[in-house]
């Protein structure tokens, strides 16, 4: 894609995103926002899973930390600006990653995955047990949602204004997505791929593998924090099951597997399919997980590289066949 085409695609996407609230109404706007939040969350996990080869069973702890930190800040600090509340959520998620990274960058594979399951379950139990801070099973709800104040311009109310909040959240999510996309195209993004492919050789070329992993880890956690923080604001409720539970960790893994591992937009596509099926299935059955589970079995059996993997294979096949078809036409 040329730079002009890319710019055009950005403008079209921006208009399409802006048109959703007036065209589709609050119900579908909220559905789309849920999709956007989990897209960013899934892409942030894919930075570790697809790009660096680090499998995490506990990515929810960064999502949950972002959500809880934002909610706690708004509950306890009166007059806190909206962006500062999001910033606190993101910083808390990044800080948690910074604390954990001396331990986790030394391991990979199964050890990395299980260590994250352990840490995230620990966070989950803490959120349940520290009742007077986190509200235990009830979580933190009905915290004030401040208006977005831009000095010199004015202030946009967010409480009970789903369209306003949608625009605010979509802008931040788009920024987060763009930052992650840009990251994959920098030299550090290349070293990230090198670590996935061959950590030993990366070391011998003079790159510090552990430190590079730490930078990526903190960056991925911060972006999961963006998603978590906005999720908390969106629902005006943060609970252990909704933001920290094991299912919250599994959702992005499923999204990545459905959409296509190792491609940037694969997880976004996977999230769209996941949300769509969840929405449709919930109209007919209470057992949504059963439907998602069956879908996952089909994907793992027949399309291990996800939907984008299948698309790429078909495109290559079509390219191979195309010249042959052209040759046939000439002879006839």
């Amino acid at each position: 894609m040329s730079a002009t085409q890319r710019r055009l695609a950005c403008v079209v996407t921006a208009f399409a995103l802006a048109a959703i609230p007036p065209l589709f109404g609050p119900y579908y706007t909220n559905l789309f926002l849920t999709f956007a939040i989990f897209s960013v969350f899934s892409v942030s996990l894919n930075l570790l899973l697809g790009y660096t080869g680090l499998f995490s069973f506990g990515h929810a702890m960064f999502f949950g930390t972002g959500a809880y930190a934002t909610a706690l800040a708004l509950k306890h600090v009166s007059g806190l600006p909206l962006l500062a509340a999001v910033g606190i959520g993101v910083a808390a998620a990044a800080l948690l990653a910074l604390v954990l990274c001396p331990i986790v960058v030394r391991v990979s594979g199964t050890a990395f995955a299980m260590l994250h399951l352990a840490f995230s379950q620990m966070m989950y139990v803490l959120a349940l047990k520290l009742h007077n801070i986190t509200g235990g099973e009830d979580g933190i709800g009905n915290f004030p949602i401040p208006a977005l104040t831009i000095p010199g311009v004015g202030s946009v109310p967010m409480k009970d204004e789903p369209a306003n909040f949608y625009y605010f959240a979509i802008a931040l999510l788009a920024l987060s997505l763009w930052l992650m996309w840009f990251f994959t195209r920098t030299p550090l993004g290349q070293v990230q791929l090198a670590i996935r492919e061959n950590a030993r050789r990366t070391d011998y070329l003079g790159f510090r593998v552990a430190q590079t992993k730490a930078v990526i880890y903190v960056f991925a956690a911060a972006n999961a924090g963006v998603a978590g923080s906005l999720y908390g604001l969106f629902h005006d409720l943060v609970s252990a099951d909704g933001a920290l539970g094991a299912l919250v960790s599994f959702a992005p893994i499923i999204n990545i597997m459905i959409g296509g591992i190792g491609t940037f937009l694969g997880p976004v596509l996977g999230t769209a399919i996941f949300e769509l099926i969840e929405e449709l299935a919930s109209r007919y059955t209470e057992h949504v997980e059963l439907v998602i589970g069956l879908l996952l079995v089909v994907v793992i059996m027949y399309a291990p590289m996800g939907v984008l993997g299948v698309a790429r294979m078909l495109r290559q096949k079509w390219r191979r066949d195309a010249p042959a078809a052209g040759a046939l036409q000439k002879t006839s």
């Binding site: 030299p187 070293v191 791929l193 492919e197 050789r201």
Partner: protein, 248 residues
């Protein structure tokens, strides 16, 4: 001063003595081959010099500085590079991306996440120049793992050479190559290591005798002899231990 020197290097794997007191000297600018039968400790010696293992005893000096036990990336930054006997590239990345990593390493671009890599024209240009020099221009956008064996080996060696290290250790660069491929690889190495110091382990004696300025023979973890190719050829002990079994 020798560029690389080991003093009394010893190593054992759980009681199995692999190296016992190796004193190796590699002079600036020479191509130094290490030969010896299987199990003589050649690769272990490489692994200690490049930081994979810490020796049980002894020291490694690079340009007079004690570098014993430094991590591979630290040694790489000081100017020691290596290639591997078992091809160890970045399999799913293209030949271009593979070489570009070596170019980034050479330029010390390691943590830059603020500039798009595609906008770094000088890096792209240098990478393409390396690819042209190693005859991989046509395979630029193919995944490393999809290259033919000979080309994949060339990429393996070039990863070590493209980062422009002062001292390069090549571990059996011709492993598994056909006669023609070996010939091409020898020419490639001759071309790319002009003015640099190379230590190579090799079983292909034609390659060794055509490339090496000096040869060290390792036998059961000890140095049996060191000398020019002519001296080694004439050495009775070497003939008995190693060369005698081979036709050359």
């Amino acid at each position: 001063m020798s560029i690389l020197e080991t003093k009394g290097l010893a190593h054992d794997f759980g009681g199995l003595q692999v190296l016992c007191g190796v004193d190796l000297r590699v002079e600036q600018g020479e191509r130094h081959a290490i030969i010896g039968p299987n199990g003589a400790g050649k690769t272990t010696l490489f692994n200690i010099i490049t930081g994979t293992y810490r020796p049980s005893a002894g020291k490694v000096y690079f340009k007079g500085r004690d570098v014993t036990g430094l991590a591979p990336h630290a040694l790489s930054r000081l100017g020691i590079g290596r290639s591997f006997q078992i091809t160890s590239t970045f399999g799913r990345l293209t030949a271009f991306q593979n070489i570009r990593l070596a170019v980034l390493a050479r330029r010390g671009i390691r943590f830059n996440a603020l500039r798009s890599i595609d906008a770094m024209d000088d890096v792209t240009k240098e990478t393409d120049a390396v690819l042209a020099r190693i005859n991989l221009g046509a395979e630029r956008d193919r995944a490393a793992s999809a290259l033919s064996y000979g080309k994949h080996r060339a990429l393996e060696i070039s990863l070590a050479l493209a980062s422009d290290q002062e001292l390069v250790l090549l571990d059996e660069f011709a492993a598994g190559m056909s006669r023609d491929e070996t010939h091409d690889a020898v020419e490639l190495i001759r071309r790319l290591t002009e003015g640099r110091t190379v230590v190579l382990i090799e079983h292909d004696m034609d390659a060794v005798f055509s490339l090496a300025d000096r040869i060290t023979v390792l036998h059961r973890g000890e140095i049996l002899a060191t000398g020019t190719p002519a001296e080694i050829r004439a050495n009775e002990a070497v003939k008995e231990a190693y060369l005698g079994e081979m036709e050359f």
